[in-house]
Amino acid sequence: MSMENALPISHRQRLWLYALGALVLLFLIAPSVIIVIMSFSGSTLLQFPPEQWSLRWYESYFGSVEWRDATIVSVKVAVMTMIVATPLGTAAAYAINAGTLRLTGAINALLTASLIIPVILIGIGTFFLYARIGLNNTLTGLVIAHTVQALPLVVLTVVSGLRSYDMNQEKVARSLGANRFSAFLQVTMPQIRFSIVSGALFAFITSFDEVVVSLFISGGETTTLTRRMFNALRDQIDPTIAAISTCLIVLSIVLLSAAQLFGRGR
């Protein structure tokens, strides 16, 4: 084993710590595992482990027009949010990283405000504003609201990518005659593309999983998947939701692995 954390304490003396840590990890991961397994159950009763297996809950998910429409809305909104939030966040991160602006602290605080401000307040505020300008129950409204939620994640991810990049390379390109934009595109962006892609994936998943704001500003034909799930959970526990949840968990795993993979490509 590496010497990096070799204290004169044996692993055996630490068994209690490992046991405790493993229990907490189990607490974190068990609910997702249980849901994935139960989504393949053949019975309407909640049994674990299930006595018979089937794909009926997946059939009821993909076979239902309502669930399918809601899924399509969510995918559309998430893709558009990603497309809008990524360039906006990258541009802002570039400006913040330059560090020459005064009030960088205030700008940072403003851009990351949506992480801190209680979501419920953003929800009723957006609903109130949209009611005046007619953006409630529209895709545009959802994309704008989700972009604001996703922006801080793109900014933070890209800023941390830029931190480990030497901006002098871009200066060299400019001194050799490239204009600023092409210097960024040809020299800087290829080297921070992993952070940008990670940021984009985080933007996608933030939008796709967003519940509270969508609860207020989506409805009718633009009901998002999470809004429909929330309402379904309020009424009764339908095992179809286990199938949908499994799809969402798989989506998280895929996007997160992609982000990790890209992050390591540096």
């Binding site: 974190l28 541009a91 802002a92 020459t100 602006l101 109130f128 526990i237």
Partner: protein
């Protein structure tokens, strides 16, 4: 001669250069502001304007005249006071549970060899990026009256009546602890990784027992990370909506749920806005106090992956 011509215009060139540099710096600033403007504009339009508007609304009563009645309600109506008490009770309980569960986990992660730690870390990050709805649904399935835990315990003969685990205070605490735990573990782990192992070695070389080394060296050094985790968890708990709304069974009314009820159900925007404004003020005050005391930002959790 050539020397002279190089030196003589020097004084003039300096001011010329200064002007050019100045103009260049200004252009640079404008360029950077232009890059920031779309993002800032969006945040301004979707967050700052509506919240300002809500604040304005909260200053008027139902008849439309300027009054503090929306705020006076907080102290007069027992249902509001009960909501605040519930909210703080839940926030303290969840934060406490997160510390009890999260500290040992972060400590273990920081002591494991790198490979093992990164595998375990995935198990923390994955729930962090899984939908809150999915995780709340999972806990409903596990904890409800005919849920997994109750049917297991009844099958095993431990209990004869199902335990009330969901749709009450306990359910909300369990569900929210699960959602908040990564918010505590991730910053705490990041700060524990920066503790110099040589400090611990020195302590042990000088004859301290492992327990004393932990208590006197490691634990105090981990406190700033713990503090930032505690603050972010507490603040997020205060405004949390989804889990208490789904797992409280209508009995646990938290601050955010009261806001939703007041605006959506009773359409009393002034009262709802006042609740929101105070929630925001409490949140910002706690974060500001934290930043002032420790000089660190609590948003670190989102960039510490």
């Amino acid at each position: 001669m050539s020397m002279q011509s190089a030196i003589l215009p020097h004084a003039g060139a300096r001011t010329l250069n200064a002007d050019a540099l100045h103009a260049d710096a200004r252009r640079e600033t404008f360029g950077l502001l232009a890059l920031l403007s779309p993002g800032l504009l969006l945040v301004f339009a979707v967050i700052i304007v509506p919240i300002g508007w809500l604040f304005w609304l909260s200053l008027f009563d139902e008849t439309g005249s300027l009054s503090a009645s929306n705020y006076a309600r907080f102290f007069q109506q027992p249902s509001y006071i009960k909501t605040f008490l519930t909210t703080f009770k839940v926030a303290f309980a969840v934060t406490g549970a997160c510390v009890v569960l999260g500290y040992p986990l972060a400590y273990m992660l920081s002591q494991l060899p790198r490979r093992a730690a990164s595998i375990c870390l995935i198990l923390v990050i994955l729930p962090f990026w899984t939908s809150v709805l999915v995780r709340t649904y999972a806990w409903l399935v596990i904890l409800q009256r005919k849920g997994l835990i109750n049917s297991w315990l009844i099958d095993l003969g431990v209990i004869s009546q199902p335990l009330p685990l969901a749709n009450n205070f306990a359910g909300v605490i369990i569900g929210m602890t699960h959602i908040m735990l990564p918010f505590l573990v991730l910053p705490l782990y990041a700060s524990m990784k920066t503790i110099d192992i040589d400090c611990l070695r020195a302590g042990m070389n000088l004859g301290a027992s492992p327990a004393a080394t932990f208590r006197q060296i490691f634990f105090p050094l981990s406190l700033p990370g713990l503090a930032s985790g505690v603050v972010i968890v507490f603040v997020l708990c205060l405004g949390f909506f989804v889990t208490p709304a789904l797992m409280g069974g209508g009995k646990v009314i938290m601050w955010a749920m009261r806001i939703e009820q007041t605006t959506s159900l009773y359409s009393n925007w002034g009262a709802g806005a006042a609740l929101g404004v105070v929630l925001l003020a409490v949140t910002l005050a706690l974060l500001g106090l934290f930043q002032w005391l420790l000089g660190a930002r609590a948003t670190g959790v989102w960039s510490s992956r």
